[in-house]
Point group: C2
Chain length 359, copies 2
C-alpha cells in the first residue's frame, strides 16, 4: 500500500463518523505534514455543519501550514453555507491536495482547478471505498433527484399474482432475503396506497432470521387515500412518511429534501407506471421465478406502447442466480434504430440533468 492509499484510508475512516443518511455525502479529510505525521483530521457531520476540510484545518491549527490534505471528495469551490474549501486549504498554507472522487456537481466542482490555478499541486487518486461513500449522493446530484429502482418479482410469463389475486410467494425465500438486503441499502422504500391497503406491508428491512436489519430505509406511502389505524406502515419508532400526492416529481422532491438519494419502488404496477411515465425510473431489478402462471396480474403496466417498434429496450447489466430464481438488473439501453427519436417510453429513462440546491 502506498502512503497515499494509506492516508486516503484514514480519510475514509474519518468520513464514516458522519451520518449514513443525509442530504450531503460523508466526507473525510486528514492533513499530513512533510514528515508523514497526521497533524489534523475532520469529517462532515451532516448538512449545515462544516465541511471535512474545514474541520480538519480547525483541528490542525497552525500545523496545517506546509501539510498535504487527503480528502475523500474533491474540495468544493462554491460559497454555500460554509465557504469554499479550496480557498480555505490555500489560506491555511496547505501545499498539496490529494482527493479520491471528483465533485460531480458543476455548482460545487472546480475546486481542483481553482487550487491548481493558485499554484497548489492537486492529484486525483481513485479509491473504491471513497467512491462508495459518495456514489448514491453523486448519482442523485447528477439526476437532480434520488436514483429510482423499480423492483419486480414475477414469473417467467410476467405475472405478479395468480388469477385469484394470491401472490405469496412467487419467488423463493432466497430472493426475498436478497430483497431485504436491498431495502437496507437504499434510503427509501416507496409503495402506493393501493398496495398499502391491499397487502398491509411493513416495508422494513429484515435479516434472514426475521429480526430488524441495523439500517432501515425511510418507508414511504404515496397517494391520497388514508391508511386505517393499525396499518403496519404506521407502526414502529419511525412510522412511514405519507406523501399525499400522485405526482412522482413531488414525491422525489419531498424525499430529496429529506436527504434521500436512492429509492426502491415496491408498489404495484400503478405506482411503477406513474414513475415510468414521469421519466423517473433509472433501473429495473427483476427477481424472475422459473415458474408459469398463465393468468393473473401483470408486473408491467400499460406503458403506452402500441406497436413493436416502440417496444421499450433495456440493457441487461447483470444476471445473477438467487436460489432457484434469477435476478436481472436492467438499465436504459440505446434506442433501437427504428425507434423514433423522442419516444417518451424510452426517454423516460434518460431525464435531463437539472441543477440542485442543497449543500
Amino acid at each position: 500500500m502506498t502512503s497515499t492509499e494509506h492516508h486516503l484510508d484514514e480519510a475514509v475512516d474519518r468520513a464514516l463518523r458522519g451520518p449514513a443518511r443525509d442530504r450531503n455525502p460523508r466526507v473525510g479529510c486528514v492533513l499530513v505534514d512533510p514528515a508523514g505525521q497526521v497533524v489534523g483530521a475532520g469529517h462532515h457531520a451532516g448538512a449545515g455543519s462544516p465541511h471535512a476540510e474545514v474541520a480538519a484545518l480547525a483541528s490542525a491549527g497552525d500545523l496545517a501550514s506546509g501539510a498535504t490534505a487527503y480528502v475523500t471528495l474533491e474540495p468544493c469551490n462554491h460559497h454555500g453555507r460554509t465557504g469554499p474549501c479550496a480557498r480555505a486549504l490555500r489560506d491555511a498554507g496547505v501545499v498539496r491536495v490529494v482527493y479520491a472522487v471528483p465533485d460531480p456537481t458543476a455548482q460545487a466542482g472546480g475546486g481542483a482547478a481553482w487550487l491548481r490555478a493558485h499554484g497548489i499541486p492537486v492529484e486525483r487518486c481513485a479509491h473504491p471505498a471513497a467512491e462508495a461513500l459518495v456514489s448514491d449522493w453523486a448519482r442523485a446530484r447528477t439526476l437532480g433527484r434520488p436514483h429510482v429502482t423499480w423492483k419486480i418479482a414475477s414469473t417467467l410469463d410476467g405475472r405478479v399474482a395468480a388469477a385469484d389475486g394470491s401472490s405469496r410467494w412467487i419467488t423463493s425465500a432466497e430472493a426475498r432475503q436478497d430483497a431485504h438486503r436491498l431495502r437496507s441499502r437504499v434510503d427509501a422504500v416507496v409503495v402506493g396506497t393501493g398496495t398499502a391497503l391491499a397487502d398491509d406491508p411493513a416495508l422494513t428491512a429484515r435479516t434472514p432470521d426475521g429480526a430488524a436489519a441495523p439500517v432501515q430505509p425511510v418507508r414511504v406511502v404515496v397517494g391520497l387515500r388514508d391508511l386505517p389505524p393499525g396499518a403496519r406502515l404506521g407502526l414502529g419508532p419511525d412510522p412511514a412518511l405519507h406523501l399525499r400526492t400522485r405526482d412522482p416529481h413531488e414525491v422525489l422532491a419531498a424525499l430529496t429534501a429529506r436527504g434521500v438519494h436512492s429509492v426502491l419502488l415496491e408498489g404495484g404496477p400503478t405506482l411503477a407506471g406513474a414513475f415510468w411515465r414521469a421519466g423517473c425510473v433509472d433501473e429495473v431489478l427483476v427477481y424472475l421465478a422459473p415458474a408459469l402462471l398463465g393468468a393473473g396480474a401483470s408486473a408491467v403496466p400499460d406503458l403506452g406502447v402500441r406497436t413493436i417498434d416502440d417496444c421499450v429496450r433495456l440493457e441487461l447489466a447483470e444476471v445473477r442466480p438467487v436460489g432457484p430464481d434469477l435476478r436481472l438488473r436492467l438499465v436504459p439501453g440505446r434506442l433501437a434504430p427504428s425507434t423514433p427519436p423522442g419516444h417518451p417510453a424510452v426517454h423516460a429513462l434518460v431525464p435531463p440533468v437539472p441543477s440542485s440546491e442543497e449543500d
Copy 2:
C-alpha cells in the same frame, strides 16, 4: 487415448455412415482381433436393415472368431426384424464385447446380461460421442414419443407481440440465429394452422447469411384448417406435413412413425397450451429480450392455474446470454410442497413411460 477409446471412436465413425434421421439410432461396430487389427466393421443403415453388429460380422467372416466387438450401443437381445445381436456375436465366436451406451429399452435391453450369462466378458465404457449418437432416440424411447421443447421468444413481461399484434422482432438477430441452429438440431418443427395462417412462416433452418442449413427439420402444421395455395409451408422440395388433428398425442404418434425423436413447438400459445394440457412438454426454452411492452399477447396461455399454490414450478437448467438477450432452458422441477399430488399442470411434464414398437 486407450485402445478401447480408439476402437469406440472407430465405431462412432462407422455409425455416422447411417441416416441422420431414422426411427432407429445410428450404431457402429468394429471387430478387433487379439493383435489389435480391425477385422470387420459395420453400421446400421436405418430401420429394416441389419444391425451394426450383424453387418460387422458379415464383413469379418471367419475372422470374427476370437475377436473383440466394440459397439456404440449395447447389443440387442430381442427378436425384431433382425434377430438378437447378442446371440449373433456369441455364435460368431466373439470373445469379448465393449459397448458405450446401455440400451434404454426393456424390450431390447439385456444383451450384455445375456452375453455374460453365456460366458462372454462384457465391458461398458462411457463415450460422449457415442452417447450423442443415441441421446435423442433414447430419450424418445424412454418417453414413448418424441421429446418436446416449447420455444418462447418474449419480452421480460411475457409478451410475444405488441398491442397492435406486431412482433417482428422481439428478440435480437443473435437469438433468432440461435433458434435457427436449434431448428437444424431437432427432427421436427411444429406450428398450428393459426400461426401458419397469420405469419406464413417457412420454418426452415437457415444459416446466418440466409442460406438453407445443410440439415433441415421436418416441418409440420397441425390443425383442421386448410392452408392457402402458395403458403410457404407448402413450398420447397419437402413441403410441410399437414396433420389434420388437434390432439397432441395423435401428432406425436404420427411423428414417431416417421422417425422423429425431437420436436420443437414454435406455434403460438394455443398450440403450446394444447401440448401442455396433454402432458407433452418436456422442456421450455425461453429467449428473453430485455424489453418491456406492457400490453399485447402473452407468451403463456391459460394453464388452468387459479391460485398461487398451483403455480407451475420449473427448474432453470441453463442460462445463457445470446447477444443482448438471455436464453433460459427450463425443465420440470420437483413439486412445491404445497402443490396437491396429481396436479395436472405439473404432472403434465412427467408422463408415464410407455412401451414402444419400432425396431
